[in-house]
Point group: C2
Chain length 197, copies 2
């Protein structure tokens, strides 16, 4: 009885649409694109499959809607370089454990292996919203461009690895507390970097 998206809708298109979208996100995030069927989503949302075509234009449109990420502004780039690891780690753990509903980024990450556009969309999103800000921040901290870029790429890559291990490979990364500490240390090591040494 852990239904999320089927709380007694009646004849209300908006609520129905939302319910379908919630379940779609959940299932795409869990099984990827192809393994998710419109019937399964409709069943989970408690509606008839044809409503998915009606409201989202089909499975493709449903996926695009489910993969839509809202960019959350963050304050991780306010503060000294020495605290970057702590701030980033806190932000990540917060995003992971303090959130209801599925993360649209996970929809993209999980579908990236089977859908090239999903891979491209995720790559683009990360470049714009993770790598580029990191680069700017590190450059502003007074580092040479090449050094800043190398460190930013390393951190960004590490974070992708963490997400892949946790969400795709489903590895147990430990308690939120110790996980956050470990994350902070690793990030800080890369941020303090010596790449052009």
């Amino acid at each position: 009885m852990a239904e999320t998206g089927a709380p007694s809708r009646g004849r209300n298109a908006a609520a129905t649409k939302r319910s379908i979208l919630d379940q779609a996100r959940r299932q795409f995030a869990q099984h990827g694109y192809r393994a998710t069927t419109v019937k399964a989503v409709a069943d989970a949302a408690g509606v008839s499959p044809n409503l998915i075509t009606r409201y989202f234009g089909g499975k493709e449109g449903l996926f695009l809607a489910a993969a839509q990420v809202e960019i959350a502004v963050d304050d991780v780039y306010d503060g000294p370089l020495a605290g970057l690891g702590d701030r980033l780690a806190a932000s990540i753990v917060q995003r992971w454990f303090g959130q209801q509903g599925e993360d649209p980024l996970l929809v993209l990450l999980r579908a990236a292996g089977e859908r090239p556009e999903a891979a491209a969309a995720l790559a683009g999103f990360l470049d714009t919203n993770s790598l580029a800000p990191l680069r700017r921040y590190l450059r502003t901290s007074g580092l040479p461009e090449a050094e800043a870029d190398a460190r930013a790429a390393a951190i960004d890559t590490f974070l992708l690895g963490v997400s892949t291990r946790r969400r795709v490979l489903r590895s147990d990364l430990g308690e939120p507390g110790s996980l956050q500490e470990w994350l902070a240390t690793a990030i800080q090591r890369l941020a303090d970097g010596g790449f052009s040494g």
Copy 2:
């Protein structure tokens, strides 16, 4: 005319089987599990689809065969800690650029998003063949267990991120030369790292 697996086989079961397997690895590595059809593999191998059932028992068996990884013994764990980054980076770049045929690990990585057993298989393989050896090596280097484990996990996670970025998200990571340098530095930073500081 870049066909790999269809070099004029005649009535030779072993050669046919090999040809199918080569093409299967290639396609699974490129499109994942569900998006790869037995017909497409058969066409690429220049054979009839039913031979896949005949020789591999079906699509499932074909995937398992294509995902079979042969463990290559490596000498990255011979040498001082200060050179670990260099040795690991060299080994990785070598594996990437100096290899014919598709990497079975990529088959697993790409299918991990849609097939839980593939995810589990990859996680298990990495634990046994990457994380555990790293841990052993770092412990042997005289580090406290907790510290060695934290550094090993960080390196392993970073490497997963690199593979995901490169093969799944298809990001351009630059020339082999500079890529290897960057890898070596990042790995070494994590290997040297004060996690219990």
